[in-house]
Structure formats: C-alpha cells, structure tokens
Amino acid sequence: MEPLLVVLQGLPLTLIVSIGSFIVGAILAVPLSLGLRTSILPLRLICRLVVDLLRGVPMIVWLFVLKFGISSPEFRLTSLEAALLGLGTISAGYLAEIYRAGLQTVPRGQYEASQALGISRPIAFFRIIAPQAVRIVSPTIATYFIGLLKNSSIASTIIVAEMVFQAQAYARQNLSISGVLPYVFAGLLYIALSVPIAMASRSLDERLRKSVI
C-alpha cells in the first residue's frame, strides 16, 4: 500500500492547482470574453490576440517561462505560484472563448426585453444574460475542468509536489516492478476524481436544460 499512500500525499496539491487555476481562469475570462465582443475595435483585437496566444502556447512551455524565466533577485515565483498563474491564464483563454460562445447563444430578445424594461446594462448583463449563457455552456466548462484536473500533472515538471510528482519520486527510488504501481494508482485517482464531476455536470445540465431551453 505504500505507493498509494505516497501518491495520496500529492492529492491536496493536485486539487489546489486544478481548482485554484480554474478559479483564476474563470475570473480573468470574464473581462476577456467581454473584450472579445466589444464594438471597440482595438480592444477587441488585443483581447483576441491575448486569447489566441494563451490557447496557442503549450502549457509546459508557459510554466517553464513563468518559473525559470522570471528570476530577478527581488521577484521570483514559487513553483505553486507559477503553476496557478500559468494554468490560470491559459484557462482564462479557453474559458473566455467558451463564455463568448455562450453569450452568443442568448437570444437578442433577452437584451431587448431588458432594455425595454429600463434595466441598466450592467444589471442586465450579470443577472439576465450571463446566467443564461453559463447554463448553456456549463457542460463545456465541466469538460474543460476535467481536462485541467489532468493537465495539473504538468505542474510536476516545475516541481510542484502533486500526485504525478510523488509517483515519479517513488518510482525513481523503487526501480523494481513496483515502480509502475504509483503511476497506476495516480491514474486511478484521476479517474476517481473526474468521473463524479462528469456525472454531476450531466445531471446539472439536464436540470438546467429543463428550465432554460
């Protein structure tokens, strides 16, 4: 059971990196998605460029740049900070695109009804348009989160001691056949984490679909 216990030691950091960077991304994606839809052309182009860059850069490259590229004596990111910032910003790029798609599917009539009622633009956006958009794309967001959960293992390359890092460390010290065991356990743990998320997202989606579409 030793390999399992070793891998389990990495579980908290796996959760911290995936949930933390998801939150960072989910928040940063709000202004970005608005920027993708603004009628102010220069702003839209800048947001489009940022989103495309964030989606285009390989995670491992971006993490290395943040962890080892910024190394002045006064300012340097810890491994965890670099992982949260790196995976968070990349998530922002993907989530901004998902939000944008969601916003696009909200019918024009919803904006018009809000306008005709004299509801101010920010309130209309946050209370009427955005909730409907999020409901429509909630399965896509869940899928992205599951992907992010597994991609958090890339943080092991910048020495964040999450599950895969622990598995590697154990395997390096136990070169026998049991060396593969921690990876098997890590794999099973990822599955054990993702399957409930997928199931919850499906049932949530079914419930929301009844009330929205």
Binding site: A116, L117, Q132, V212
Partner: protein
C-alpha cells in the same frame, strides 16, 4: 393658441417625422403619429410596412435617423441618441410586449415580474411580490407564480409578459404583434387581457394582424405600407370604406 395647448396636453404620444433606414433601405419615411391619453391605437399593414420598426422607435430599441417625439409631456429630439438617464426615463414611461414574449427563462414567473421592479423602481422585495401577485392574478396566472416560463403555454407566457410590463406602471403600453406567435385559441386569452387593459384606460399602441381587435377595441387605426402612413382614422370607417387602394388591397387580402 389656447386650444392648441390644451389639445397637446390630451396626447400621450406625438411622433414627428420619424425617419429610419437600415443601410440603403429606408424603412420609415417621415412618419408622424398622435395618440391621445387612454386611446388604443392599432397599426396594421402588410409585412415589411415598417409597423414594428415604428413601434420600436418609440422606446428607442431602434434609433431613428431623424425626427422628434413627445411622450407624456416630455419632448425628445430623437435625431441623436439620448443621454443614458433620458433614455432610461423614456423607457420607464413605456411598457413593451414582444411577439416572442421574451420572458427570462432562468427565473420563475413570479421572479420575472418581481426582478424589474426591484431594479428599475427599487421596490423592496415584499412590495414587489405583492404587486406581482396582484398583476398575475389580474392576468389569471397567480397559480403559475412558481412555474418556469418554459412550463407555460405561449398564451400564458404572453400574459406574464404583460404583467411584467405593467408592474413598472407604464403610461403607455406598446404591443409588437403580441398574438402572432400564438394559435388562435391562445391568442384569444391574450386579447382578452388586452381588452381589459384598454377598458381600464391604458394608452396602447398595438401592431397587430387581429382585425377584429383593431375594430372592436381600437379607437384609432393607422394603416402603413412601404414605410409610409397611408391612412388613419376611426377603425370602422377605414375598414368599411378605405380611401386608399393600397388599404383596400391589404384589407381584402386579410379578410380572405
């Protein structure tokens, strides 16, 4: 002079030479319109006549290219976009009912009627709920308060939309083909609510294809074609003795 001033006080809405084009297409050619307080003004005409666009120019869902407007005693030059506060106050004077209902699907029926009151009139929750329940009762849907809009028939949704607009105490109600998306049977229940609203003294501008409603409930009839107002007057008079050949053509097409 005196009679003129008195006369203009009688009007809830005066549109002056409203012109609107989309690209190269001119949808409205200098359309003027006056609606007395408490009057039901029906706008009819073939599709593409500019009826809905004219209605949407009243609460500035469409920005006219030029023209002016007097609404409930306030004058607006609508050749340019209004300031945000002017725009909000103009829209608070008008309630609007859409062809596609446009209820908020993520809220219950009650929340649909409560939410705008909370944010536009800043009513507190209990007062807003009280007003909402009273209005839902008036449109016969108090028992649906906790349902979601998608669980309602089209006719029921449209009645909720009317209650939602009325909750903000508009001086003028705009109806944009309110029954066009409904089966005749369901249209009936919406028309009944509108009839009751007209009887209560609400000023209404109704874009409609319901000739019977325009004739029996309407006080004033406007016929539009190709972006022009071609004829207006007392509904019976126009329907029985249209002066314009374009009106005759339209009426005979509708009556078949």
């Amino acid at each position: 002079m005196d009679t003129q001033r008195n006369e203009s006080e009688d009007f809830m809405l005066e549109l002056g030479a409203i012109t609107k084009s989309f690209g190269k297409n001119t949808i409205l050619h200098q359309v003027s319109l006056r609606v007395r307080k408490g009057e039901v003004c029906s706008i009819i005409g073939p599709s593409g006549a500019g009826k809905s666009t004219l209605l949407r120019c009243i609460n500035l869902l469409e920005q006219p290219d030029s023209g002016n407007m007097s609404l409930n005693g306030n004058f607006y030059d609508v050749s340019f976009p209004l300031r945000q506060d002017e725009l909000l106050s103009l829209r608070r004077t008008c309630g609007m009912v859409f062809q596609s209902f446009n209820l908020f699907p993520h809220m219950t029926v009650l929340q649909n009627v409560v939410f705008p009151q909370r944010h536009v009139l800043r009513r507190n929750e209990s007062e807003a709920r009280e007003v909402a329940l009273k209005l839902l009762d008036r449109v016969g849907l108090k028992n649906k308060a906790s349902s979601h809009p998608t669980q309602l028939s089209g006719g029921q949704q449209q009645r909720v939309a009317i209650a939602r607009a009325l909750a903000l105490e508009p001086k003028l109600m705009l109806f944009d083909e309110p029954t066009s998306a409904l089966d005749p049977e369901l249209a009936h229940e919406v028309l009944d609510v509108m009839r009751e609203l007209a009887d209560s003294g609400m000023t209404m501008v109704v874009v409609t294809h319901e000739m019977n409603f325009a004739r029996t409930v309407g006080d004033h009839l406007v016929v539009m074609a190709d972006g022009h107002k071609i004829e207006e007057g007392i509904p019976e008079a126009i329907m029985d003795h249209p002066q314009q050949s374009r009106t005759r053509q339209f009426l005979s097409a509708v009556n078949h």
